[in-house]
Structures are given as C-alpha cells and as structure tokens.
Point group: C2
Chain length 227, copies 2
Amino acid sequence: MEKSLSLTEENYIKAIFQIRRTPESNVSTNSLANSLQTKPATVSDMIKRLSHKKLIFYEKYKGVTLSAAGSKQAIKIIRKHRLWEVFLVNHLNFKWDQVHEIAEQLEHIKSSELINRLDDFLGNPTTDPHGDPIPNANGQFQLGPSKLLSEMTSNENGIIVGVKNENSLLLQHLDKLNIHLGLNIKVKEVNDFDQSMQIKLADSSTLFLSEKIASQILIAKKLRSYL
Amino acid sequence: MEKSLSLTEENYIKAIFQIRRTPESNVSTNSLANSLQTKPATVSDMIKRLSHKKLIFYEKYKGVTLSAAGSKQAIKIIRKHRLWEVFLVNHLNFKWDQVHEIAEQLEHIKSSELINRLDDFLGNPTTDPHGDPIPNANGQFQLGPSKLLSEMTSNENGIIVGVKNENSLLLQHLDKLNIHLGLNIKVKEVNDFDQSMQIKLADSSTLFLSEKIASQILIAKKLRSYL
DNA sequence: ATTAATTTTTAGATTAATCTAAAAATTAAT
DNA sequence: ATTAATTTTTAGATTAATCTAAAAATTAAT
C-alpha cells in the first residue's frame, strides 16, 4: 500500500520534481533550501528521511534524485494543483495570477476520487490557466499543443487527450464506440467528400467517424511519462 | 490582525463548538479527548495554549468555553465545511454519505476570497446536503427552514437568505432594487388580484414586488449569531 | 463527612520539523 | 597540487503535538 506523505514531505517531493532539469539530474541541498524557503541544514535532515522512505535516491554531498515512487507522488500533486487552478479560474472567476497560492493548499487534499471527479467536472482539461500541461490520471504529460482529430491527415497518429465541448450526447456516443482518453489512434483515410475518417485503434480495429465527431476530439502528438 | 490557526488548533476549536450545548456551557477535557481521538493529557496541554491565545476561556478542572474570537473561527470552519459539501454533492456527484471526510480536509483551506466565491458559485445555499444550516459570511446561522417570500402574508417579517433559482437576469434585477442576502423585510400588503407585494425594508423604505419575483426569494424567520 | 471512583493535570519522554554554529567535504583558483 | 571558497553535513537546541504513568483535584457514594 502507498503510505501517505506529510505536507512537508509533499512539498519537498514537488520541489525536487520542479527544480531538476532531467529525471536523472541531481538536485542540490542549497537549491532545495532556497526553493522551500528553509535552511540547508533542515534540508539535509529531511532528505535523509525521504531517502529512508525510498522516495528519493541520496548520496551524501551528491544531491538527490526522485525514485519512481517519488516521481509518482510529485506528478499527483502537480496534477491536483493544476486541476484546481482550472476550477478557480473557469468556475470561480479568479484571474490566472490569483490562483497559485490557493492551489498550493488545495493540491494537498487527499482523495483520488475527488480529483478524478473534479477532472471530469472540468472536462478533462489538458493545460492549466498558465498553459502548463496537466498530467492525466496515469501521470502522463502531454507534450506540445493539442489539435482536433478533424485537422489530421492520412497516416498521422496521436493520442486522444480530450473533447472540445462537453456535450453529454457526444460523450455517450464516444463511450459506445469505446473511445476514451489516452487512446492511441492513427488516421487511415480521410474521405474527400464529407471529411469522415477511418481511424485505426491500438488493438488494430478500425472505426469510421463523421467529421462532426472528429471535430470534437482533441489529439496530442505525444504523452510523456516521468516515472 | 487575525492570527492564522494551525490545523490542530482549528480542529480543537471546531470540536469545542460542536460539543457544547449552549454557547456558555463548559466542554470537558475528556469529551474533547474522545471527540478528537486523542488522550486527555494531550488535551490538557493544548487547551492551555488555546487559552493563552485567547481563543477559549479555561479554568483548571472546569473545562473550556469559546471566546468570541474562538467562536468566530469555529463558525468560519463550519461554513467552509458545509459549503464544500454542497459542492461535492451538487457538482461532483458525490453521495451525501461520502463527503464528510473530504470536507474535513477542505475546511482548512485558508482564503475567505475562495470561500465567498464558492458560496456565490453554489448559489448561496442555506443548508448542506445533510440539512445542516450553513452560516453566512457574517457567521449567522439560519434557524428553522426557509420559505418563499410569495408564501408570506401581511405583517409577517423575515430575512432574505437566498434565491430559489440562479437566474442572472433575476440577480441583476435584485441588485438594482438593492435587495441582497441578510436583508430584514416585512410584508406590508399582498395584492389579492395578482399577489404582488408591498414590502418594507429595514431602512423603512417600501418596495413593490411582483409575484414572479417574490416566488424566487427565500426567507427565513430568524438568524442566530453565536458570537 | 470520609472514602472511593472518576476526571484532570503534571512530569517526563518522543517524533517531526525546524534553527544556528561549527565541522567536514567538495569544488574552484592560483 | 595546495590553498581558498563554497557547499553540505553534523551536533546540539527549540517548538508543536503527541504519549504513558503518576499525582492531584473533583465528584459520587456510602
């Protein structure tokens, strides 16, 4: 089972995730102290504890790297932070520059049920109000902007990351076709006459979609997992 | 300025508020220990600190009572808890029996801006999904159920606690008439023909309202302040 | 009105998270 | 390749929140 982290631990994990350049690069004690507004001595102590909990890899004087478990936690926190920001801006009419501080608190609320329902309520947004990508429930980030399935041409492929408008009839229809977020698709053919499409799914089954539906589906080029 | 409480302090203050029978009744160390799932010795220590912070009145062996400052904090927390519960049930489709635990976390998010916007977003609900009254921004609880202004008869009075449906045209109209939550009103006369009403406001100005508008306004008999 | 039972407090420890000051290790500079 | 500068760690303290065990005070019972 996954042990639940303390607020402080969560903040350390998140800071490490955000400071590091690549998943393998080491994060220094001083940079952490700086980013967490605390003293290097405090960080030194804390990273020993995080290392003991297997959330990070740590060698004295060499800085730290996140373990798979640590990355997973960091991404979860970032997902929550960004989804809450969308809520604050889109539904509570906050300005995009007013939401960070509040989201810093909301990101620590524990309940994956809550966050997944919030994600659905918000319409599975792929970016937050600042344009930063929101990791999906599997912890994958979307790289680059998304476009509509209807804008794709033959042989292009991509991943379904969202729908343009939240129309419940559309959602029901997609459900029936077994089309869901995260699905890898490839455009086989676009009909010149009505722009309907034949697309191939990951299990190599094919599917026909009208332009009307294709113009509602958001596609991204690539997802990146940081685990 | 108001000092911000720690999570633990907030939980103590809330527990004291909820356990006590009347605002003046003393809450015992054991009952607090029981309700907070901790030991009497811990409570003994903690209440000394809360007393030092002037949030409670405390005499050794005599239990505690909330000060005005303490009550204010408690009510704020309860307001947040119940508003979040409304959000979870009405917008995220949680069942009313699933929301308590999550609201226990959300109630500690600090931002009155957030909570007031949430209140508006939810349509200024007067009760939570369990039927418990939601204190307004001034910390007042509504006693008893609310009814529609259109159901009132001559000489009845009450306080405006909400609107039935959130229609922005209606809200704009009410704004123009200077009708807002918390307003004390008295029905002067009901027109037999069209059920339009003449109502008197606190500043003894009078106002005519059509039945259409009167049937959208929620009135409660009394507000109670626990400060 | 004493004694017994119960409740509350005090004393002394523990853990997480933090600090300052000093020591140790690493990195940069001549 | 030493020395100087910088970074990191260790040592020793502090505070909030918690605990157990024992002492003290209050309340209930005869």
